[in-house]
Amino acid sequence: MPVVELAAVTKAYDSKVAVRDLSLSIDAGQMFGLLGPNGAGKTSSIRMMMGITMPDSGRISLFEKPFDRRNLDRVGYLPEERGLYKKMKVLDQLVFFGELHGLTREAARKRAVDWASRMEISGSLDKKTQELSKGMQQKIQFIATLLHDPGLVVMDEPFSGLDPVNATLLQDALLDLKSQGKAILFSTHRMDQVEKLCDSICLINNGEAVLSGNLREIKSRYERNRVIVEFQGRADFLKSDEIASANNYSGHAEITLKPGGDAQKLLHLAASMAAIYRFELVEPSLEEIFIQTVGGKANA
């Protein structure tokens, strides 16, 4: 059963329609990627899920019930615009957010200390937020989002501003949450992370869903027309009639086949001209699907 569900949701500001007829649902234990170019309507959709703005039409359900603010205690939200009280001490801040989400003071304090240890910021609990680096503040915000053990985690660009080590730390924490059966939605421009982490995606453009569903199913809908060849010898096979376009980087060629192009014929031709070390027919990357779907207009 879906933890969060949007059904035909529309939101407009004056003449600008931010979200049009959007439907999506996220189940428990599912990691869901909300993708789209800048201004596509991702943040507007998330804000409606969080009750920050109200939809003009359509229906939003949380935990199988019509939207009710009281259920927001079970949601953890990390907005794209990060915000912390700069002059407040880190521990006080975490306890405050925990209490706002319904935890007792003692429980919030205990969980804050545990999470700080896990995210390797224990030494900063007594410091004021403004004394910490941006990456550290990002981790504090991440903890504040998860402190109350929410059933639904909504994260807008969670990896922005993090170095690879900390990004991995956060990624592992998200995978843990997923394995605990939490529903996780994140909006990002980082296609590699979506491919690695998400089970399902919804790609929105100009406020409308243009592609949605299980990531594997979506990818399988696209023809495997890309070939990677590593070779030594003559490169004349790159002029084959089977090929629509090819880039050759000194023995490493990336080839796009024509519609209906025969990869086997190309392999035979290549083998007759050069020594072949690798010949791989690859599925399109999410980035390619993204660009192809939004008509190359994405500036993300």
């Binding site: 927001l72 949601v75 990060r82 915000g83 009280y85």
Partner: protein
Amino acid sequence: MRNMLLVARREYLEQIRGRAFRISTVLVPALILFLLGVSGFTGRKLAGGRHIAIAADNASLAADIRADLLGGKRASYTIDTVAPFTEQDRANLQARVQNKSLDGLVIIENSASASPSVTYESQSSADLLDTSRLTEAINAGFLNLRLAQQGISSFQVHSLVQTVPLETLQVSSSGKTGKSQGMAPFYAAMLMTFLMTMPILLYGMDMARSVIEEKGSRIFEVMLAVARPEDLLAGKLLGVGAVGLTQIAIWLAAAALLSGSALAAPILSGQMKIHFSVLEAVLFPIYFILGFFLYSAFFSGLAATCETAQDLQMYITLAVIPTWTSFAILPFLLNNPNSPWVVAASLFPPTAPLVMVPRIGMLSAPYPWGQLALSLALMVFSIWAVIWLASRLYRVGILMYGKRATLPEIFRWLRYS
């Protein structure tokens, strides 16, 4: 409700622990004490230790002036008289003024003529009180002298120039008369208006600055996902209001401790004696809290439409106009606390907190209870209306970044929410 109280507690504790609170709590009374100290010091300097010499061509005139000056209540002088005097005496006395063994020298010549010459020499420019006191004593001396020259005995002179004290009585509408407090209610009115205005405006602006600061730190989106904007606004109002009351309580406690000290004497005695009735003491905190909520909610709503503290500047006038109006009303209040303008100002919510309490102080029983109830009801209703509007501006405004909203945009925001 729980979230509102959590927000209020956070706001209160963070501000109370902050350096700004500690500094302002200590600095404001320190400044007042300093001013009182300066005034006390100046007063003492005026009141005693002034050593003056009077050189006159008429000994009786010099003695009269000396007696008048020494008989004054406010000032005590050491006064030497040299009458009649020689040029050598004049030179000696002037030398003493130069070497500061004398504070001042009065020289009276041609006292018998129609246009006598009177000069006052001193190293410091003569202060207002000194000069007016001297002028008064010298003129009284000349009056005595001239009347005596007309053959009127000194006893007759005394009875002729005897001043008559005017006793002022205050008549209540029930016909009872009581002793009037003279200027005391006016000073009390000024003090109360000032005490009410400054904290209300300061804490109101503090609220606004806090909203802009938090808007800048992008904290609101996180907060709005757990709390309603109304709770955030009300929590903030409660927290900052409690900070204000704490600070005022500290100041009052300090004032109570200091009230017995010599420094407080100038405002607790004499002509500037200030008296507050029990009703004023009850109404003051009520109107203070209502005024604070009204102005702070108003400022918070406006602050949500601004990006920086500079953007807020243009709105300050909106708050300053009612306070100016209240101060401008004070003379009318002194003349007639029941004049239509004063009654209107004591009912109009933005000016009511600043006018109603001093007005009650100027009246005697029976008080206009109906007007008081109406004023409080109007205040409560306006606070509700302003919080309602402000929370709508707040809901949309705190998520709008980039620039200060224009008036049409503000109206659109009210429609969205």
